[in-house]
Symmetry: C2
Subunit: 513 residues, 2 copies
Amino acid sequence: MTTQDGCHYHINQGLIHGVPSRAKISPAERLAPGEQTLDTIVIGAGYAGLVASRNLALQGKQVLLLEARDRIGGRTFTSDIDGYGYEMGGNWIHWGQPHVYAEVSRYSMANELVSSQDYSYEEGNYCSTMIHDTKGQLTHQEEEHIGETAMSIFCDVDGQGGRRVVPFPHNSRFKANVFAKWDKVSCQDRLDQIKNKLSPLQLAFLTSTLMHISGANNEDVSVAEMLRWWALCDYRNSGITDYGLLYKLKCGQTGLAKAIFDEAVQLGNLQYKFSAPAASVRDEGSIVEVTTRAGQRFRAKTMISTIPLNVLSSIRFTPPLPAGKALAAQQGHVNKATKTHFEVKGTGLRSWSGVAYPSKGQMYLYGDGLTPAGDTHIIAFGPDPGLFAGKKIDKIKGALTHVKDAEIKRVQLIHHGSRVQAHEYELKHVQIFHDWNQDEFSKGTWAVYPPEFATKYLDDLQRPVGRIHFASADWAEGWRGFIDGAIEQGARAALAVSKELVTRRSVLKTSHL
Amino acid sequence: MTTQDGCHYHINQGLIHGVPSRAKISPAERLAPGEQTLDTIVIGAGYAGLVASRNLALQGKQVLLLEARDRIGGRTFTSDIDGYGYEMGGNWIHWGQPHVYAEVSRYSMANELVSSQDYSYEEGNYCSTMIHDTKGQLTHQEEEHIGETAMSIFCDVDGQGGRRVVPFPHNSRFKANVFAKWDKVSCQDRLDQIKNKLSPLQLAFLTSTLMHISGANNEDVSVAEMLRWWALCDYRNSGITDYGLLYKLKCGQTGLAKAIFDEAVQLGNLQYKFSAPAASVRDEGSIVEVTTRAGQRFRAKTMISTIPLNVLSSIRFTPPLPAGKALAAQQGHVNKATKTHFEVKGTGLRSWSGVAYPSKGQMYLYGDGLTPAGDTHIIAFGPDPGLFAGKKIDKIKGALTHVKDAEIKRVQLIHHGSRVQAHEYELKHVQIFHDWNQDEFSKGTWAVYPPEFATKYLDDLQRPVGRIHFASADWAEGWRGFIDGAIEQGARAALAVSKELVTRRSVLKTSHL
């Protein structure tokens, strides 16, 4: 089935809107007939909403899942083209990310994990660099060493490698005053503090790595948030690779999301409706009423909103959201990353990576896998939200060829003691990442906070209002902005709602009760 | 309340059997009156049994939890003495252990995490060594560096730091043939292969660290199992500290276990009986009948056994357990570690650690916390199952004073450029670790496999038999022998049972169903 999200370009077929994906749900609704008051309405079928719905359905609660799109997964879905799964949104997970890995384990999907990185191919086994319009080449060991050195200096704000500022990365309240101090500082401020300790190459790598992580300009990102991420990655640069860029699911994120959805559906007490964006929410005290854009009304005793931070202000809440939530939603998070998938003929780039700074749209590029046709899947990231404007294919291709052409031109040079062979890496397929920044149901990618945002708003964002609970990776306690954070939030909201519903199903009448 | 498990010694009060613990459940039973056929009987109220019971109770299943002891927690429970929680069994957890941290997160207990390690005290801020009866002293940096160097050499069996042999530590089936090759090799064999690459000090540290990890002699432990642990710890020695020795819960493991138990109890459909050891289990095809030692019989459609590996052969199964399970249970795992808690007057040892090889019963000793009285809690481990024989206090004290006296005698020496001050560290309290090895309901501590055990038996151990599912940390897929592994197993068993029960609770009659 084809979801309306995403689009891809093929050299023979040109630009195609929509991509095939198992995430599309058809038929689009399952609703009980007649008027009903549900136990809870969950808005949003991303991971937070799927987990919340499943956990409540497991408890026998009457749940309605309402989703604006035609598919599950929110900012994460897999498109299957020619037998290969391209992750249009969230991609990598790790067994050290507790909430998502507990789900992988629940569905016995350990066998689905594969490594994106494969440095076993001789040809193209290096990192191409295009730094300030100068071409270069590094071994992957050199690439990693530069990253480790530069990030370690950047994050060592406390003489303890960041451990003093963020000793417990899943606990935002721990040493809140120390965190708050660094939350005022931007990544650019911190770069300015340490730049004379770095070589020009180290500085370029660090600057671009930070932008890769945040999908934003370094002025706009809190250094405390970067330290939190660093702590989550075991305070080491190799951890950023391990947790953030390495392990993906063969069955795709849609495989995991579908396992959660299917379990919930099979319970029998989950109702759902896709392609049904919520327009307004009214909390009447004992009942919450949700009205869709099409005017359909649903009523429940409680509600869970998984609406993303940058979309929250587009829903009309009555009574209005409290000031803290409203201001946070208005300001929003800053991540405007883009992600492009390229399919390149042959295996010559499977062990390759590239870094461009400044870039022509994509700063970091990696070999991510081999398609069944034996070609290489390259994945590319950059913080240039304009890359997809007008969907100009030559511009999007240029993001790769800017780095790859450099490589080809360098063919005649001896570099690091080895002669680089001439290869025409033919772009076979260009699959455009779904434009999450223009998408009215996401308006951005994984949440990254500007300075002072967490200090000011995190408590407000996490807090329920009346009978409405708010669950999103965008204000997760641990892996904020990640799949793991979404699941953390969904599970917590489900538990809070089930406590609120106080169902007494006791069958026992002993004196011990 | 006082559980019958464990005992402690106080200089004024002498030896006291039993320790106060919130893990003791009173009244000891909650049973519905009359004959009944339950949905499932869970044997064992350790983490595996608690999670399985809660997850099934959440689904409205009629569950009976049967426990041999008078308390929850299995090989994990906290005794509270003078306002301080001593972990009698499993202690440390980490946010990178997915199954247990998902539970911490579920109950919003992130604030309960504290660090056992605190190197902020000036006095005693070093590692005392007593290696082959020679006293020494190292900085903690030197201590860590020796460990990192030696363990890295030990685990680098593949030129990739163990990554090739165990690329996915939560997936026992991945590259089973490569794993099987190393599963034939004992830790001692591997030590023999590399010992000429190590200094005598490095070799002593490595030998004792391996015994600390396994609670066994190095001849008796599979090197593949050690590599799996190494992989779980991010292929780094500091990871062994981070995951295995660092973060504990202020509220104790009993705090977490109690949260799971209480949630299940509050649902109303969980029955339980403590101090009720199972004697026999009969699978009649459509019904499983469990008979306790006291002759009480319970019947259910399914059963989950969380009986530990080393105890399994003491229960009579009809029909008998299949050959693989029976042989594995007969052989058992090899971990016979002991653990002692000492309370030492003052804060002088808070930042201290000690290593003794050969030891007088305890090989590794660490400052673990400060009691409300301002004294230091020292925790000690060793692989000498005879340490507690006859509960001879002087012998148990000797395990610490062997290392500490060495320190005091060295007072006049200059070591590493600094003079060590004389201090009489007065032993105030000796709290004997519960003797898990003699305990008929555990017969050992955290599971560690001998060579070829995983290759031969892991599949058999994990496999259900008829209507009986087997869930234990002792054959977990990931953190085998850990709290995390127990929860992994409990969750999987609950899911398998709920699928078997095939409850249809649909309220919907639309054509989409």
